[in-house]
Every structure is written in structure tokens, then in C-alpha cells.
């Protein structure tokens, strides 16, 4: 008998929750409503209607999670440029461990045969990842601080596993002898996708002003 009474009370509380939006519920009633909605297994649509703020938050978090866990190819290409910018840049007073870590990170970004086309040089050069890493390290050693930034990236995918990127590269810094460096160039880059990872395959410096 006691058990039956408690069941009736539960049913009563469901009814109360049904009228909750019309009357001003007490804090106790709010608690009851929350428990019953979970127990009764309301449809997602009903939950959205009941808790719109939570539903919006859940939706935003889900979208963010999907975007983070499954980035688009464009985002993956951009990420490669971010890594290159980070490993080439140098903070004033960079310690040996950081230099060694960055040196280790440069070579894996490049394809086996990376083509370099510079307007001043008539013949394009083909260099391997190891060579590029050693060039970069030698270059970094001449500067006390160095910053490489890529802006205005325009990414196209002419083929499934090829990305063409047109961008503005801004290299600035202070040499060990005190000279300032401030170079800006338009660069056309080609990236190749090998085993789900993008590698830099070609860099061509575009001549914006031709003397």
C-alpha cells in the first residue's frame, strides 16, 4: 500500500511538471521536473524545447568537436604553414634545447625532392629535406631574433593530392651583427599529400616588382 502511494506521488509529480511553465514552480518542483524528464526519456526535440540554452551549448560543442577531430584539408595545409613559421622563427635568447627541437621538426615538413624557384636564379633547384633543414639552421644562426609570418593564404586543390597555395611571406628579424632584416615576398607553394600528411613540394618566389 505504501509502495502504491509513492507511485501515485511520482505520477502526480509528472503532471505537475507538465504545468510547470504555466504556474511559477517552487525550487522543489523544478528538481522534480528535471528528474522526471530524464526518467521518462523525452525525445531530443522535447529536451531542446525544455532546455534551449543547454541544447545550443551542446550543439556548439559538438560542432567544435567535429571541426577539431576531423579538420578539413584546407585546415591541414594551413597547419603545415603554421608549423613552418614556428620552427623557422626564433625568440631572442632561444636556448639550445629549443633550437635542437626545432631543427628536428624542419626536415619532416618537406617532400623528398623540394623544388625552389627564385626569380634571380635562372635554374630551379631541387633540394632534399636534410638540405633545407641545414639551410634553415645556418640562416637562423645568423639572427638573434627572427620571425617568419605567412599572411593572405589562398589555397586551391587542382588535384586530389596536390594543394597550391599563394601567400605573402614576411621575414623580419635582427642579425647577430645588429643589421635589421625586413623582407616581404609573394610565394606560390605546392604541397603533396603522402599517406594522409601534407608535405611542401615546391616554393616559387613571385616577382611583384621587376627591375
Amino acid at each position: 500500500m505504501v509502495k502504491k502511494e509513492s507511485q501515485e506521488q511520482t505520477r502526480g509529480s509528472i503532471q505537475t511538471s507538465g504545468h510547470g511553465y504555466l504556474s511559477r514552480p517552487t525550487s522543489g518542483q523544478v528538481g522534480q521536473r528535471g528528474r522526471t524528464s530524464l526518467r521518462s526519456g523525452l525525445s531530443p526535440l522535447a529536451l531542446v524545447k525544455k532546455h534551449p540554452v543547454i541544447a545550443v551549448l551542446v550543439f556548439i560543442l559538438s560542432v567544435l568537436a567535429v571541426l577539431t577531430l576531423f579538420p578539413s584539408e584546407e585546415k591541414k595545409v594551413k597547419k603545415q604553414f603554421e608549423i613552418l613559421s614556428r620552427v623557422v622563427s626564433k625568440e631572442p635568447g632561444e636556448n639550445v634545447i629549443t633550437t635542437a627541437r626545432k631543427a628536428h621538426e624542419i626536415a619532416p615538413l618537406f617532400d623528398e625532392n623540394c623544388e625552389l624557384i627564385i626569380p634571380e636564379d635562372s635554374v630551379p633547384a631541387y633540394v632534399g629535406p636534410g638540405e633545407i633543414a641545414s639551410y634553415a639552421l645556418r640562416g637562423r644562426a645568423q639572427f638573434s631574433d627572427l620571425s617568419l609570418k605567412f599572411v593572405d593564404l589562398s589555397i586551391m586543390f587542382p588535384e586530389r593530392r596536390t594543394a597550391k597555395v599563394v601567400l605573402t611571406a614576411k621575414l623580419s628579424g635582427k642579425a647577430v651583427n645588429g643589421d635589421r632584416l625586413d623582407e616581404t615576398r609573394e610565394v606560390q607553394c605546392t604541397l603533396k599529400k603522402i599517406k594522409r600528411k601534407w608535405f611542401f613540394a615546391a616554393f616559387e618566389v613571385v616577382e611583384v616588382l621587376k627591375k
Binding site: V151, S154, T168, R185, E186, V187, V208, L209, K211
Partner: protein, 166 residues
């Protein structure tokens, strides 16, 4: 409505749908204007001294490049890959013209061009070269540095974004 109420309404408006719509409209118009028509620029470098000083602020008026071709002595902004970084230079020769520098003097088609905006001494020498079709030749006003250190040359008209507003 008293003037005090009006003032309060102006600084602390009621958040009505009409007000929000107006705010969205103003924000959109400002975004479009300052992204495509009147691009704010921060001048870095001394290549255009003394006409434009290092560190000064200006705006790039893009409609001028859209409706008219650049003329000699016009100051223009030349883009790289996009509008985030641009060059500020002066047009000194137009398509088809032959340009050269002789002891710091600018010669176009063999005639010396007066350049009142060049205030610093210049001793540049550059052999004659012809400006290609759909291109202009641009140089900075500050030619006091060696010619190798100055960023100048021929560029496509398509790369010209606009002119500085003042």
C-alpha cells in the same frame, strides 16, 4: 521626450529588434567599407620619405583603381598575395615607355622628368628598359639609399589596389 531622456536613449538605447537590426546593418556596412573600399594602412619603412613617414596611418582608397588607370606621379598601393601587406610606391612610367636613371635623374623616353617630391640626393644609374603592356613602373620617393637596397620596378596594373587617401 525631454533632452535628458533623449541623451540617455542615445547612449543607452533599449535593445529592441529594430535596434539590433540597425546595429547589424552598421556593422556589415563598416566591415565592407573598411575591407574593400577604404582599407586602413599602417606605413612601415622609409621608402616614401618625406612624402609618407614611417609609422604613419592612412587609408587606401580602392575605388580610384577601379574606375581610372594610374597616371605618372600617382602614389599607389601594390598588393602581394592579398591586401594584408602592400607596397606604397609612386608611378613614374606607364606602359610602352622607356625608363632609365642617369646620375639620379629620371628619364622617360629620353626626356628628363621633374620630380619635386624627391627631396633627398640620389645618384642612381639604371640602364634603359621598356615598360611592358598592362604594367607601370613604380619607385619610392626616398632614393638616398643604394639602388640595390631599394624595392622598385615594373608591376602589373592588376596589382594596384588603390591610392592613399591623403
Amino acid at each position: 521626450m525631454t533632452s535628458k531622456n533623449r541623451l540617455r536613449q542615445f547612449f543607452f538605447p533599449s535593445i529592441t529588434p529594430r535596434f539590433l537590426l540597425r546595429v547589424a546593418g552598421v556593422a556589415l556596412a563598416a566591415y565592407l567599407a573598411f575591407t574593400y573600399v577604404l582599407i586602413p594602412i599602417h606605413i612601415q619603412g622609409s621608402s616614401m620619405e618625406p612624402t609618407y613617414h614611417n609609422g604613419s596611418i592612412n587609408c587606401c582608397w580602392t575605388l580610384s583603381a577601379l574606375f581610372s588607370k594610374p597616371q605618372r606621379h600617382d602614389v599607389v598601393t601594390v598588393r602581394f598575395a592579398g591586401h594584408r601587406v602592400m607596397l606604397l610606391k609612386r608611378v613614374v612610367a606607364l606602359e610602352g615607355e622607356r625608363i632609365e636613371f642617369r646620375y639620379g635623374k629620371l628619364l622617360v623616353d629620353g626626356n628628363t622628368i621633374e620630380e619635386p617630391y624627391v627631396k633627398y640626393p640620389c645618384n642612381w644609374n639604371l640602364p634603359p628598359r621598356q615598360v611592358e603592356q598592362d604594367s607601370v613602373y613604380v619607385v619610392g620617393d626616398n632614393r638616398s639609399m643604394p639602388i640595390e637596397d631599394h624595392h622598385f620596378g615594373q608591376t602589373s596594373i592588376k596589382r594596384i589596389v588603390g591610392v592613399p587617401l591623403w
